[in-house]
Symmetry: C2
Subunit: 556 residues, 2 copies
Amino acid sequence: MSENLFAKHKATLDGALAAIHSRDYFSPWSENPSPRAYGETAAADGEAAFQAHLNKPFDLDMPGISGRVGGEVSPYGIELNVQYPTVDMDKLLPAMDDARKAWRDQGVEGRTGICLEILDRLNKRSFEIAHAVMHTSGQGFMMAFQAGGPHAQDRALEAVVYGYETMASVPAQATWTKPQGKHDPLVMEKKFTACGRGVGLVIGCSTFPTWNTYPGLFASLVTGNPVLVKAHPAAVLPAAITVQVAQDVLKEQGLPPHIVSLFVDADPSQPETMALAQRPEVKLVDFTGNTAFGDWLEQNCPQALVYTEKAGANTIVIDSTDDFKGMVRNLAFTLSLYSGQMCTTTQDIFVPKDGIETDLGHKSFDEVVEAIATGVSKFLSDPDRAAMVLGAIQSEATAQRIEDSRGLGTVVRDSEKLTHPQFENARVRSPLIMTIDADKEDIWGQELFGPISFIVRTESRDHSIELARDVVKKHGAITMGCYSSDDVQLDKIEEAALDACVALSINLTGGVFVNQSAAFSDFHGTGGNPAANASLADHAFVANRFRFVQSRRHPK
Amino acid sequence: MSENLFAKHKATLDGALAAIHSRDYFSPWSENPSPRAYGETAAADGEAAFQAHLNKPFDLDMPGISGRVGGEVSPYGIELNVQYPTVDMDKLLPAMDDARKAWRDQGVEGRTGICLEILDRLNKRSFEIAHAVMHTSGQGFMMAFQAGGPHAQDRALEAVVYGYETMASVPAQATWTKPQGKHDPLVMEKKFTACGRGVGLVIGCSTFPTWNTYPGLFASLVTGNPVLVKAHPAAVLPAAITVQVAQDVLKEQGLPPHIVSLFVDADPSQPETMALAQRPEVKLVDFTGNTAFGDWLEQNCPQALVYTEKAGANTIVIDSTDDFKGMVRNLAFTLSLYSGQMCTTTQDIFVPKDGIETDLGHKSFDEVVEAIATGVSKFLSDPDRAAMVLGAIQSEATAQRIEDSRGLGTVVRDSEKLTHPQFENARVRSPLIMTIDADKEDIWGQELFGPISFIVRTESRDHSIELARDVVKKHGAITMGCYSSDDVQLDKIEEAALDACVALSINLTGGVFVNQSAAFSDFHGTGGNPAANASLADHAFVANRFRFVQSRRHPK
């Protein structure tokens, strides 16, 4: 308890607090895996630390450890063979619930300081985590470093500062003085304590094992709830390292380390997780994954608040452009990055059947399609760049989905099996692009997770907007994009996005992509369409994870 | 649109914003129904305005009006015979949903200004509303004025400022500038729009037809949601006046008046309300009432967010006191006020079987009981004061419950039928107080709504605390009180209240009562025990009623 962690990290906290209100760029950490930012030996040390985990038991400090399990296989073809502890939930969950009092009594600043210290240490282990993310999710190294390291830490910090701000909005103590005319005023001394709700369960996914886990983990933790991280069985290591770092800090502060715990199920099917999510100790559930399970959680865990990010059909409306080449370049990267395995990747691109107006003159529907297909192929023609940007396909199911989808439309760019320059057994696939008619919404309206996209032939510019709006309302979306050089159409598109409650990116032709969102500035998901019931992050994401409990008395 | 209502009411807004953070006393309105505060003719004008509603149709501006209904009978024995419009929900709800865009486009300050103007006008009609509240709820006039008028307006204002603060925490426009080393920075212009979720449904109760309706109404309204007020069939008039005032302001601002609408069901049973709460347009439900219906709403409206205040068993632990007479006086008022028909009134008072230590020496269990029973009788011995404080029993069911409860314990103070000095047919009853053994928790643990309380004979001081904590965890509570002059016991009680997540009032012997909470300072309900899933008011109460929808583009 010696070090005041809140004071230590106050500058980071203040910077983040300013950023969530200004929505300007902010990050306390470098997204560049450079020796200058992380130290001369950081890259080598991180890789060695990752290697040291392989083929070994992974130790965590939890009551009720019952055995070991682990069967991760890297999408790059390496068996990790890390053995994680399994736990008897009848022992762990009551112990976590008991730890609530100690965690509550740390107070708002105490918990905030500990969360910030955990994040600081996670940042220092970004290279190790990057390799763990790469070899579970299949992301290329640079993306695994950025999205799995500093960008995930940014989203965690964002959740921490939202939680801090909401809790700190009410003072721990206050005096209430009510005038009574000529009589003495009524005076009360009041105490307000932010109390967590119970145990938080965070159900992670295999594609972003830190980025999608951290917001729920840190939002629940800072607001006073012990957190059980239920890692995806195919992507445990990044979560396990995270839990280990958190436990180290908790132990140093004299707190029960199992305030942050890990659950790994032997079987990737869901019955065990379903039972866990319905446990009486579990009062908060954060979930990233498929719509069916997300819907089940929302409807079958009445004892808990459930925050979900599920599937959707992300769309781009191409109406017109004054930078045709820039648009094509931007789309080529968007469709290629991590082989479309982002919840933000565009699936449906709407183009009017009569084509569009551009700075290079009128382009027919077929010319637009050809430009996009060729743009992707050209972008991926350098094998090193292709390997770095595409990464590997996380699961065999996604690889199979590509095979199964070829008949759904007219293939204009086929997916190919590529050989990775470093990992000969890597599961690498390039994007599959098809054209399809607008009336086949039953096909293009469903999410087809992976590098599969449709260019949808619409009746008109307005028809494109209508389709884009309606598919979001029906199936949900995390992102919507558009290209238009016509202000009248842009106004219509903005209104459609507001109506469908989806974030809109307009005319991206440079270094910002529709599938990337910046913490502290961009809301990830709106929580207002079927793709997600929450947003990363806002006050709604944190405010109900704790309750204010007050006492009042007259002064002595 | 001529007047800037936000600027007009900015000082009120700023005062309320400061108060929710300082938690000091605040109210922009006088709780004193005095000519100086409200004008020389306000009392007479208000009563005349109330009288003018009786035996007449009540007009509201809504699409789909289909007929008239109304059968309110005052607990003071007067038939109101006000006839309210009934509405075809297939016409009204789609029209309300259509009005969302116009309401959204008012922006954060526009909506806030309109809400503040509505509140200002409601305050000016506090006398009229007081009579309407009195003759529906049965509250005495003074309480009807305060709780139905300025205190209800305070809670509404509190919801408005929480909504405003949360929405205004993100700017409508922002510039994001990300450095790129030696290259030009990436720059994005971003817009953020607070968008309501859909139609808000507010289900009112018969005992506090404005105080319990306003928070949900104004929280949903300010955050961009048209609101349908479903008044309790026995207490429509206060809600109808409120909706009329809101519609006047909306019309003056060129907005569809049905952004605030009223639903009155002919039949006090629930099927019509159940269907309404499940309508696809309804995305928010606020409910005050019985646990069974509250639980049903929480579990059967997956399309909506549901905020409930339900029943509970409020408790007081009597451990010891250094002001025995002050304690008894305070309890006498608490048990008498509005005949115990407050969701905050104490039902169970825990006293150790071996008695307590006081400033007047040791008091045996029987002496404590006798003092409380006599204290209530003495307090009510003045018929005018009794009539003013007790008010009338709102429903025949509550009156019957008193009759049915006599056999549940040992009666130490019987309930009497009293005659009201002004209203000969008023349904007036004094409090029923019984003693009961601690092991009969099946009896004292259930809420018995009305002037029915138990003094529970416990094994010891610690046993009292244990029982008080456990009953809140099991059945919920809005309030907990305690009397102790022993700091060790007080610490245990405070820990029990934190553990059970219930607001605690300590050693109240003066002019503050456990059943009263002050807006901007006291949280009404914690939202963390079974009595309520929300608190009035905090960020959690408002933050999820709207979503931020953003668009971003590079600057031109």
